[in-house]
Assembly symmetry: C2
Homo-oligomer: 358 residues x 2
């Protein structure tokens, strides 16, 4: 995840020797750029933009401007097809009252669907990224349940790095200390997940995170610690496609839990759609009243003192401003409602299918 295309160009020059192949995924207004550097040729790429990603008017959070999406890069190493997915989900700003949970769940759901549908010809699937979810959160269980991806940290034979594999740690100078007060060791929100599709098995030999600052300097490499995994891929005689079947009752529970959260988000979005729509209508009514009043005054139909010009024009401008702003917000929330409805319905369909064919 780099902020600007310039950063990507700089990295490309610096890494060109070891990692001659790279791809930059554009999205959003600023930065956003997911990018991938590879020692092996990149055969193909695809970008999928999540349908929801916070609110443009939450300027202090800024996620909307970064345009969250998932990038797919296809690489072939000694005849084995790797589908490598990179992504960054919406940040969590307040764990107790996480207003963005429904959006992040929609993203996790869309990520899972995208991986399922695009990885059918792959031998090995890898997902790396800042998922902004703790290891036990519903979103990560949903993602893992739907795709069958395994957590490199949990599976690693050897581990080296921050305690508990944390990637957002309090002694990084870019983290906000108060947010990490309940988690003295930090939290693990950056992941490498993997699975083998066809007749391969993947095991994680080693997982490492960076710790602390750049050698010889005072600043850390990034606001998160980096995660590195060494994976061992073995060709084996038979496919293990049926291995995921045992987890289905658990999957139904996770989807139910996620669907509940999406439904909560849906109701909130419907309320906001309603209130912004009402405000737009009220502003329009005020404008109509003013136009009628002005016409009346002009035509000399209304006796007595007309409104003072100043307040009258101020009010008109205010009404126009409120009308435009409320209309834009109404449209935004109308789209949000649709996307949440769509996801909730898809989850309902999956649940029905799970119940019908256990």
């Amino acid at each position: 995840q780099v902020w600007s295309e310039q950063d990507y160009s700089d990295l490309k020059v610096k890494l060109g020797g070891c990692y001659p192949f790279s791809h930059y995924f554009r999205s959003g207004v600023i930065g956003s750029g997911l990018c991938v550097f590879s020692r092996f040729p990149i055969l193909d790429t695809l970008l999928y933009q999540y349908s929801l990603n916070g609110y443009p008017y939450m300027l202090q959070h800024g996620d909307w401007f970064c345009g969250k999406s998932v990038g797919l890069v296809i690489i072939k190493i000694s005849g084995i097809v790797f589908n490598v997915y990179v992504t960054h989900l919406h940040a969590e700003y307040c764990r107790e009252k996480d207003a963005y949970l429904p959006h992040r769940l929609v993203q996790a759901w869309e990520l899972a669907q995208f991986i399922r549908h695009t990885s059918k010809a792959a031998d090995v699937v890898l997902l790396g990224g800042d998922l902004n979810m703790h290891p036990e959160d519903v979103g990560i269980r949903l993602l893992r349940g739907c795709t069958g991806l395994r957590d490199a940290f949990a599976e690693a034979t050897r581990f080296e790095g921050c305690e508990d594999g944390c990637t957002l740690v309090p002694n990084n100078c870019f983290t906000i200390k108060t947010e990490l007060l309940p988690f003295p060791l930090g939290i693990r929100i950056d992941y490498i997940l993997y699975k083998a599709i066809s007749s391969f098995t993947v095991t994680c030999e080693e997982l490492k995170t960076t710790t602390g600052t750049v050698p010889g300097r005072d600043i850390p490499l990034s606001d998160h610690e980096a995660v590195m995994a060494t994976l061992h891929i073995r060709r084996q005689g038979q496919a293990v496609g049926a291995a995921g079947g045992t987890a289905e009752p658990a999957l139904a529970d996770v989807v139910t839990e996620a669907r509940l959260e999406v439904a909560v988000g849906l109701r909130a979005a419907q309320r906001q759609r309603y209130s912004t729509g009402r405000m737009a209508v009220l502003a329009l009514l005020l404008l109509v009243l003013q136009v009628v009043g002005a016409l009346g005054t002009l035509g000399g139909l209304v006796a007595g003192q007309p409104f003072p010009k100043l307040s009258f024009s101020l009010l008109a401008f205010l009404a126009i401003g409120v009308f435009l702003l409320a209309t834009a917000l109404y449209l935004f929330h109308a789209i949000e409602v649709k996307m949440l409805q769509g996801t909730e319905e898809q989850m309902r369909m999956v649940l029905r299918a799970l119940q019908e064919h256990p």
Copy 2:
């Protein structure tokens, strides 16, 4: 393509007898709804939203509000896996000066990539929809070249319906007659495309379009004529994956042509980004000047007659309005520039790959 979810529900009730399985894809603010009705169970679905789709401020064209996207529905009929894609691309309002051509080309490109990446486990691929392109347009050649899809109209053994397979015909009462003046027979912009992926072959036995009005009534079924294809699918011994290889030099030409159009769109978007950005900065400067002036008057620092209050406040409100509007437009065009750049770069990569491995 239905306008409202209510229409979908009505259709579902009416078609439930023959087509018990259906799916509705939500996107955009109004309607938008792609929907699919099927005699066979729908196993899985996925929605992909195009990154560009016209401009929200082009209210008279309205495409932006409908949220164009492509829906995938996976169906299995007697053991054969069908990936059925439905879509609707941005309309063409003026063929001579088609401002939406770059957006439509980005959509056609994304559609082709999406089909390629999601159809790897399918036996048969079907694409149906209003592509808003004439049969020889660069977008349809791009789509067909990248995916290997074949045009059911061109391949059909028997054809029945409007002359030349036209689906937008002048004697439909909903079409705008002046737009069709150069095409007295109408135009063919609704397609059924298909291909077989693995060891299957598909042939089109019959293609039909509706003609004219509902029997016994005066109004046509829709603003476009409907297209129906009867396909014959045969299992065959060997795969025919190499058949597309001969068309590669032609593909390079088509991608070059499309890339040129996208580059033209990119320059237009960059110009609009620049002019909206400049307007936002100017409005901000005006506001700053006003604030300085107001503070000066309040502090009694400026001698002489201050501005009349009315014009002063009107100007301030105007400046705020222009600033907000110009900022919103700037953000929109900044995203547009990014998406056009991304597509142009992808096309460049594909061209390089085509030249390196002919």
